[in-house]
């Protein structure tokens, strides 16, 4: 309800709203009617419009298709992966093997997502010879400078100040070591060996290396449960479908005697051998213990409940905090530092013609682009200003049912003059229709020529068409009622302002019953959020004569390719957010 900044949104032409919007249960006649009506007014308040509207800055422009391209109609290609914290580039192979997080020492605070820093628990050496001491030593912790959280709270300390990611992967909250995936694999292999070669060999092996013995009833974290399960399924699948000599699995392994006997038995009816072999062929069994990935649910959560009741709200992790964690973490003491998510630099291609629309420099530190065809450089931008200067003291809200005039300034980024045609519905769609009148729906905006060109030309002739038409402040204020229909309000080198008059709706619903529209009755009695904003859909058509594309001029050949001008046209819906209506 405070201030309101006018905004403009552009609808990407790639969105085909008429096709897939389908309400089940709607009468089919209404649907077909809707579809047949091609020139349907775009409703900015429709639920689906949120997905196809973009600010001009988000849009790209394909020079080959001569069309606006939104994030939905471009293809991405990744240029580099990098960590936003340490700005180190991560090669794609590492991303594939290590995942989407920074594997160095970049961590976010699990409480407040601020970056964590590594610091030593011991006080830095002081006094004489401090310079000689080989840096800090002793256990290190991760510290949050913002909320003062420290990994000491979850009893995690590190031996080295670097490679925290690898160190953290070995420590549980509370300081116990995690049995790494490598150890688990070793244990699994060993068990396999024991299985094959009897126990004596295994015992010898144990003596020589003394591996960690894994508890078959331990509680596993998801990662290790997953890897145990995977190993288990792999062995089961291998055991239950043995490979025959030819490398085939299944019925067509003719090399095996079993298959032969089966073929022999094929025509003698359900033979005994067949039955027997079927019973012998091992069914893939279930996992039996934690080493195979089975986790019996302990069910007892009385400890958690006790903790909840005694420590209360403060001890529990919030939803946002849980969302960052990979495992279920009901309490703050379960939270772990979050490794930074990597980010990418992406180049974009047009989905239809595959031309590159945007390509950033591959170096992480530079922000330059090699190719950048942004829509901002191709289609006129729209700036909205109220015509009457508002007093500072007055409220910025629009008064219902009182006409207000707004100034739309179209600024042309092209080097050719463009012809703009505007079209608006007389009444905006929705429960509270706003009446809209564009006083000058057709006008021409001058080319974006060199500023000095303009100055020089200005000296020579005051051309009537593209001449300046500026108003002084006094003129503007006195001309409040002079916003003439069909005339441009103001004009500059490459910009034109036109006036649009708006009658905001009354947001009162408690009218008499018969006045209400069907929609109103259905949707209930209350003004929903967003409905008090006056948003008007405007259909903009831009026409200009640009230079013909390179190919065409090449084909045409000859010397007059400079003269070849091509008529271009671009049409799209815009949404102008003008202001909020006061509730009366």
């Amino acid at each position: 309800m405070t201030s309101f900044t006018p905004y403009t949104y552009f609808l990407c032409p790639c969105t085909d709203t008429s096709t897939s919007t389908r309400n089940l249960g709607d009468s089919p006649s209404a649907e077909s009617e809707e579809n047949s009506d091609d020139e349907r007014t775009f409703d900015p308040r429709a639920a689906r419009s949120n997905y196809s509207l973009y600010p001009l800055e988000h849009l790209l422009y394909c020079e080959d298709c001569h069309q606006i391209r939104c994030p939905r109609c471009v293809l991405d290609e990744i240029v580099t992966w990098y960590c936003p914290n340490c700005l180190f580039e991560v090669p794609s192979s590492t991303v594939k093997s290590e995942g989407n997080r920074c594997t160095r020492s970049c961590f976010q605070c699990p409480i407040c997502v601020a970056p964590l820093s590594v610091s030593s628990l011991e006080a830095p050496p002081e006094g004489l010879g401090a310079e000689l001491a080989s840096g800090q030593n002793g256990p290190f912790v991760l510290n949050c400078a913002y909320c003062m959280w420290s990994s000491k709270e979850i009893e995690i300390q590190f031996d080295k100040p670097n490679g925290i990611f690898a160190q953290l992967a070995k420590i549980k909250n509370g300081g116990e070591p995690i049995i790494t995936a490598k150890d688990r694999r070793k244990d699994r292999e060993e068990r396999g060996k024991r299985h094959f070669s009897g126990s004596s060999a295994a015992e010898e092996y144990q003596e020589s290396e003394a591996p960690i013995t894994l508890d078959p009833n331990e509680r596993l974290d998801p990662e290790s449960q997953f890897s145990n399960l995977k190993a288990f399924y792999q062995t089961q699948m291998a055991e239950s479908s043995p490979v025959s000599a030819l490398g085939f699995t299944g019925d067509y392994g003719y090399g095996s005697p079993g298959a032969l006997s089966r073929i022999m038995g094929l025509y003698t009816g359900g033979s005994f051998a067949d039955k027997k072999s079927k019973s012998k062929s091992g069914t893939m069994r279930e996992a039996r213990d934690a080493l195979e990935g089975l986790q019996i649910d302990p069910l007892s959560s009385s400890e958690a409940i006790t903790k909840l009741s005694t420590e209360g709200w403060e001890s529990t992790a919030s939803c946002a905090q849980r969302h960052e964690q990979t495992t279920h973490t009901p309490f703050i003491s379960d939270l772990r530092p979050i490794a930074y998510l990597l980010r990418t630099k992406r180049s974009k291609r047009c989905k239809t013609c595959r031309h590159i629309l945007s390509k950033p420099e591959s170096k992480v530190q530079t922000t330059r682009f090699r190719i950048r065809l942004v829509a901002l450089n191709y289609i006129p931008s729209i700036i909205i200003k109220p015509l009457q200067p508002t007093l500072l003291t007055a409220s910025t809200l629009l008064t219902p049912l009182k006409p207000v005039q707004f100034l739309l300034t179209f600024k042309n980024p092209l080097f050719d003059a463009v012809k703009v045609t505007l079209a608006t519905p007389a009444k905006t769609p929705g429960r509270f229709p706003t009446k809209v009148t564009v006083l000058c729906p057709q006008f021409e905006v001058g080319a974006n020529t060199d500023v000095w060109d303009e100055a020089l030309r200005d000296n020579n002739t005051k051309s009537s068409l593209s001449g300046e038409k500026r108003r002084t402040k006094a003129e503007a204020s006195e001309g409040q009622h002079q916003a003439e229909a069909g005339k441009v309000w103001e004009r500059g080198r490459n910009w034109v302002s036109v006036v649009v008059e708006v009658v905001p709706p009354s947001l009162r619903i408690d009218g008499s019953e018969w006045l209400k529209s069907e929609e109103m009755k259905r949707d209930g009695e209350e003004v929903r959020d967003g409905e008090d904003v006056v948003e008007i859909p405007v259909f903009v058509r831009v026409e200009w004569e640009g230079e013909a594309g390179g190919e065409e001029s090449g084909l045409g050949g000859g010397g007059k390719d400079k003269e070849v001008r091509e008529k271009r046209e671009l049409a799209y819906w815009c949404v102008l957010g003008l202001g909020k209506v006061a509730l009366d």
Binding site: R72, G250, E292, S301, E303
Partner: protein, 561 residues
Amino acid sequence: MSAPSGPTHRSVANIRSPSSAVPGAPTTPHTPLRNIASTFGSPSSLRAEEDTVILELGSRYLRAGFAGDAVPKALIDFGPEEQKRAGDYSRWEVGYVGERRDEKSWGQSYELWRPDLRGLDLGLVGDKIDRAIRDAFTKYLLIDSRPRRMNLVLPSTLPLPLLSVVLDTLFTNFQPPAISLMSAPVLTTVAAGLRSALVVDIGWAETVVTGVYEYREVQSTRSVRATKMFGEAMFKLLADDIRPTISQRESASRKSLPSLEECEEIAIRMAWCKPGKYVETRKLSRELTPVKEEDEVKTSMRALSISGDPDAGSMVSIPLSSINPPESLLLPFSKLAEPCENALFAAGVLPEDLDDEELPLHLLVYRSLLQLPVDVRSICMSRIVFTGGGSVIPGLRKRILDEVAYLINQQNWNPVKGRAVDEYRSNPKLQRTKSRRRGPTAILEEQGVMETPVPSAALIEQEYDPIEEQLKKEAAKGKPPVESGHLRAVDSLGAWAGGSLLSQLKVPAISMIEREQWLQHGAAGASRLIDVNVIAAHRQSMGPGAFKSGDRSSFTLGLWG
């Protein structure tokens, strides 16, 4: 590995070796089978294979990640904050208050779809999915828009219109060459390391209890008592506490009531579930089971001490910031267990008054066990897998199992109940007449009337066959005993992890839809499940050559078709 065909749930069941191993030498040494694709394919193709994306769609969240990950890399919700226009950064503003939408039902704007498809804008569903997946890909998975295979994990009863919207969106906007469909309950079973299970999915709109036997869904029952109802109960509890008078006229004072996010947060952080009232009886039944009894007894004693002593540390303060003005509520801790009681266990409602679709969870589990055939029941009851957002409420799983154990104790797998049955059981007279009729004298009487003294073959008891017994014993020697017949809960990694596991093991799903085919025919092009199943099974049993047998002439939507 190449042998299985069919949908994941089927194909894994088919893993039992189809080849007839030599009877005499079952343990012929053989090299353990690795992934055939990897042994024959070049390393580069292997890398491409790794890129399979697993997507799980639920009514509130999208989970996405690569095959082989234990946990999804991205978890994206469909809340109204995610549905704003691109470039609308108002939610980062200081003092931003989330929108309050007028909703027909609680939490409607937070869900991707709802079970009731009437009036659902399918295009909007597609848009939501599109944005969520795009978000997941760019922000978390860090992949470009190159086409890659997708595995889609879906609830097993997804209406066809929704399925076709999902597939349309995926095929047109992300260009995957093929999408495999897999059903969530079966994957949950796989991710628990089991072949059969009773999957209790306490989800958003409904709780679904699915009996899975040998990777096949054999039965599914559902109840509307789920997280949505639970959240609403929590909302009512809070609203009553803030403004006991106003809450009747909810709409008038929306701003003074907590928002959905806040209710949900409180529900997730603070809600808990009381232990059942029947702990003692459960202890008795436990004695038969080999599970660590002492632990159980101890924990139940501790739980009792909590519930029996509500004063100890009982008040909990909860800060509420979404109401105007913000305030801090002081609630008794025991009160925070009430939403669970009311919403999930239907406390205070007689079981006779409940509709079929709103059974409390313990009854739902008991009934679905009851409806299963005896063999399947005995297997499933010791493999109960809880999953879904509601299952993390502390104490809930234990409570459900306790209550179910009590019900079993009371009613003893007898579907017939009611006063007449009780009377019949308790009344010795009725019992006696029954026993007399069945007694030997009765038969003697009948013998006189009818001349066929032999009852029908079906009624005769099986003749004891010592040899058969011996054979069975011999056959069972190598096999470990199967856990069955007692209640036991097993943890699962969840459906997403199951999908990731299966696609890493290269188990193909039966319903694999290729892009061209879908774009050409749409859902109408799908053939019945049975036709494809047979064809695929024949072809794929050929081994590695047939494993990638190019274009299948038709596709199926499997369960969903």
